[in-house]
Symmetry: D2
Amino acid sequence: MKNTFGNSLTVTLFGESHGPEIGAVLDGLPSGIPVDEAFIAERLRLRRPAGSISTGRQEQDPFRIVSGVFMGNTTGTPLAILIPNSDVRSRDYTFGPARPGHADYTAHIRYSGHEDYRGGGHFSGRITAALTAAGAILLDALRKKNVLIGTHVARCAGIDDAAFSENPAADLERLNASDFAVLDEKKGDAMRESITRAAEEGDSVGGILETMALGLPAGVGEPWFDTVESELAHALFSVPAVKGVEFGDGFALADMKGSEANDPFVMKDGKVATSTNRNGGINGGITNGMPVIFRCAVKPTPTIRKEQRTVNLAENRETMIIAGGRHDPAIVHRARAVVDSVTAIVLADLLAQRFGTQWLA
Amino acid sequence: MKNTFGNSLTVTLFGESHGPEIGAVLDGLPSGIPVDEAFIAERLRLRRPAGSISTGRQEQDPFRIVSGVFMGNTTGTPLAILIPNSDVRSRDYTFGPARPGHADYTAHIRYSGHEDYRGGGHFSGRITAALTAAGAILLDALRKKNVLIGTHVARCAGIDDAAFSENPAADLERLNASDFAVLDEKKGDAMRESITRAAEEGDSVGGILETMALGLPAGVGEPWFDTVESELAHALFSVPAVKGVEFGDGFALADMKGSEANDPFVMKDGKVATSTNRNGGINGGITNGMPVIFRCAVKPTPTIRKEQRTVNLAENRETMIIAGGRHDPAIVHRARAVVDSVTAIVLADLLAQRFGTQWLA
Amino acid sequence: MKNTFGNSLTVTLFGESHGPEIGAVLDGLPSGIPVDEAFIAERLRLRRPAGSISTGRQEQDPFRIVSGVFMGNTTGTPLAILIPNSDVRSRDYTFGPARPGHADYTAHIRYSGHEDYRGGGHFSGRITAALTAAGAILLDALRKKNVLIGTHVARCAGIDDAAFSENPAADLERLNASDFAVLDEKKGDAMRESITRAAEEGDSVGGILETMALGLPAGVGEPWFDTVESELAHALFSVPAVKGVEFGDGFALADMKGSEANDPFVMKDGKVATSTNRNGGINGGITNGMPVIFRCAVKPTPTIRKEQRTVNLAENRETMIIAGGRHDPAIVHRARAVVDSVTAIVLADLLAQRFGTQWLA
Amino acid sequence: MKNTFGNSLTVTLFGESHGPEIGAVLDGLPSGIPVDEAFIAERLRLRRPAGSISTGRQEQDPFRIVSGVFMGNTTGTPLAILIPNSDVRSRDYTFGPARPGHADYTAHIRYSGHEDYRGGGHFSGRITAALTAAGAILLDALRKKNVLIGTHVARCAGIDDAAFSENPAADLERLNASDFAVLDEKKGDAMRESITRAAEEGDSVGGILETMALGLPAGVGEPWFDTVESELAHALFSVPAVKGVEFGDGFALADMKGSEANDPFVMKDGKVATSTNRNGGINGGITNGMPVIFRCAVKPTPTIRKEQRTVNLAENRETMIIAGGRHDPAIVHRARAVVDSVTAIVLADLLAQRFGTQWLA
């Protein structure tokens, strides 16, 4: 479905990095969900570049909702959010040398030379602002249904954050209030230092995001092909720079024995639970009531100031490039807000499919 | 879309492990693709359990195509393949104790107690036979268009296979002719030994599959949300036991600098190429003409003979289980045929979306 | 979505007139719906040709359900129904002269010469047997939820049937028990006579089917683009020979004044109702709680024994054709079973989208 | 898919009658289609109310395209068009009495009291401005591929327009240049007189639109369920006030013999054609290369100034209503621009599915 994702509940994205506006349309929403614009603004703020560890592009993201909300609540008809692109310096971008690791070349081939090449065009991370805003509405709605979602920078520039504690709900609350989402602030300081160092070198670093969703009822998802893993991975792999996704113990499960990897079922407070959670809350593609846990590998920002070998697409010959424009020495810490929104959209859709759209209201 | 996957070209799965027949419907096929039943049979053979390292369930998979083929070619109308379940021992399965790591519990909740619990029902790996058969038709069609797909057991029971060589086309050819798909036969022997040992312990092992697709033109895929990674991951995560998917260098990219992770563009034989392939042939979600490479983490088979703690779903109380029924001490080596078929289906769909359905014919 | 219809609940059709089997896959069913095979058989019988007014092709339609049912109830996983084609005389059909009014020519172009041309192949009315069987499961489920569906031959060969009475529930019950579905048996006798006369002339006649659905709650459907009219018309226009669909007073509304066409709202037994029903139970694309009423124009069977001018597709030159094979002098009376099934599928899908899939169980 | 229509090429609508902006997103466009803003403005003008025969609401529809166009051509990424609602008098609308024939009541039930009830909200004909603008881009693209689309008011207030002439291409050209689209201007004058008279009575009239699409290649469409009729009817029945759709001779076919209804195939200029076109250019759901012809029944505008019986939804009791707000005594003549756009969207999508998206570029 190209730029639309979802089944019962869908999100459609449009816009280019240097066009006048970007936006998202949420369709299939229940009627009667309160829309808290301050919460959306806060989520956009978490995604926004900040200080020395981010791009110089500073936008206040003054979004406006032009449909689907009436008297503060969703109407159930399509909700369109628009965000103008105010701080655009198109002169920083000219067509020619393809930035390695970026979509300049593939966009050029995919769209037969008609792509808006300025700042990555429709491929730009800028578009995730619209995605973040749309997802914020569902993050908020899910929270009111006791489904809590949060993400931490589990690893950045080779530095590991602490693991989730015995009280993950408190962890998530703390993460969602934090500008640089780590469970161990000291590790966060070290990560920021590494990002600053990479920036000074004109280079960039990557990392791993770990997301948890608490409070999902058992029995959500489909066996084929819309497993919870399938739906989440589908959406996550469209977030720019995500190159790996794993659930529960993920790749580490490949080295375990069955007797280690299986999560024993136990009775807990009169309900079925598992005593470990190596499968990340999902069995056979369907939630089992335990926390859903997954990790995304985020590659280092491809746009760097270091000189790189590349091809000039206008002239079809090799050249060197030192990327102009403003850019981030890391995006992993900003991507957490995008990943939270994506997770909210996917889970809201799966819940709507299982229990009907109005379940969320 | 639940049990249907794809956009221009779709596959729909149906059937239960112990029902009379399983099947798949391929829709959106071009007309005029030759259908080679011997090739389908060969691909089913590669998926089938074999010898001491597999389940005792032995089925010849005598599939039949009941529609969509006329005079040896696809008609372009839906192609339905059916495979009878002949070797079924339903008495091995009774409802009650949920097998840890399996879908018994989640199926019970998802379907409100109406699930066919025998042998995993619709969640069974058995269903992948239909998927393998359907995908084989596209594997064959893609091969004729010079798009080659192949998978090796890159890791099993902690043992690494060799990496792809400088001649990946030859590697793929060899893998597709091999019953136990490794690039280094000695590593394969060691893996098989470990599998046998696990079987003797009543336990199971997992592994990692690495897949390569050669010959894809640049410019296939979508920026949002149907990136090549999104579409492949969506389908792959519905293959039972897959818990992680990564593209190119995947999770290892998280630890690199941008200057390391970016693949420099070069001119090669008058065409744009990259000198490294850390991004797995995909930039911005779209193929760049380099080999598409990804890895799937396959967890150890959940059904084991060792005693495990669990819950009896019929009585809602804790109990111990020693799984009855026949089972595999590893499925990673069998899953390669499934992953090849899934890959063929996804890539054929993406190619059809990009160039029109008849491109494949 | 080509051969798949529906959103939350989908039906996929496959098969050719002269292939070994035809079939349908229902996906997105709730778990726990009782499946009454005798009822399915009865609905297939109503669709089957009978006596002198129908084709000589006589099939018992011994369907089998190969998945998705366990212990007499739907499991919630895909339900596949297969019907073998037993009474096939392929020798009656050879490729060459295109039957006017039929899909021979368009299929030949659409599928680039690879179509199964025998008996209309995938375009054959034969495929409606699978559709009728799949829909019968939902007709039955809806009936248990007090949603009653029935169709009469409102017009055939220029003869009008009586209109629905003041007691439409009783009308529907009577129609569903009747082999030739009319409200006035005398009109039915006259219609049958006309059909027989047309058969004797080697010609065929058409007619109009009028369908009513009672008991639908208000508030089902979408404003854009999935209005109740849109969804029903989409499915109905894929029933072979349907060339017109109208809701409520349909085309007659075009000649009314607004003051005549508007159905006044009234309070009835404490609920909102309308005092007339010129809009066929649908306002703004959404059910208003009144009976949903629509009519389908069914053209005369294109396959006739009279000599017709046409083109030989194998030789690309004009020729004359006297259609071989068995054929019906009318299909309007048989199509009623197909239209009922189609209606049940569409309404069940719309209800599932509005209230969640399990609403039907 | 709710507010999204299409397969390869989709349109998504959002907005409310009295919200700040309405809009549409076109996705799946080929790259490189020239976008002629003057042509879009002209199509919006044809849809706009004009003079005494239309509502007093006068909007210049100053649309803006915020994405998907670069240097005057489509980029191939989503194209979003926005139109502000400038001339809004919300005070004319208060919640309470449901307008008969309108969606006030059904919207109230569908959205559980959260609907934006002002001016029909998301159900308003106002939304068709966005649809008209989006479709105009495809109307223009199709015209450049020699696919011509046009619509006339075939009947209004009981007055019939002339039929298409022997030179339909010239007819379409003339219609597309005409503000009140009739083939016989005198009939148009009479229609306008009737509309004015109805307006004076505080009442409204309906009519029938007849649309022709010339130049479609044979072989477009699907047998099940996406026949050309199915796709067109699906989209057309979501245009407000359309209550009937028929193809070719439509309902009149029900009274014909097969020998009359069948269009004989003939060879014409070395190509297969039909000597009559009673099937409206479609056999078996697929284009046969002849003009595609269909008619839509448009009911009289439900909002009238005459006193009508209704229910006050706020108080759940019967009342009388004299509709406030501005309204049209007829919309059939304005709907022609909407129907042309809808037709262009559907046909472009079908062509893209058949020949690949880039066919249009």
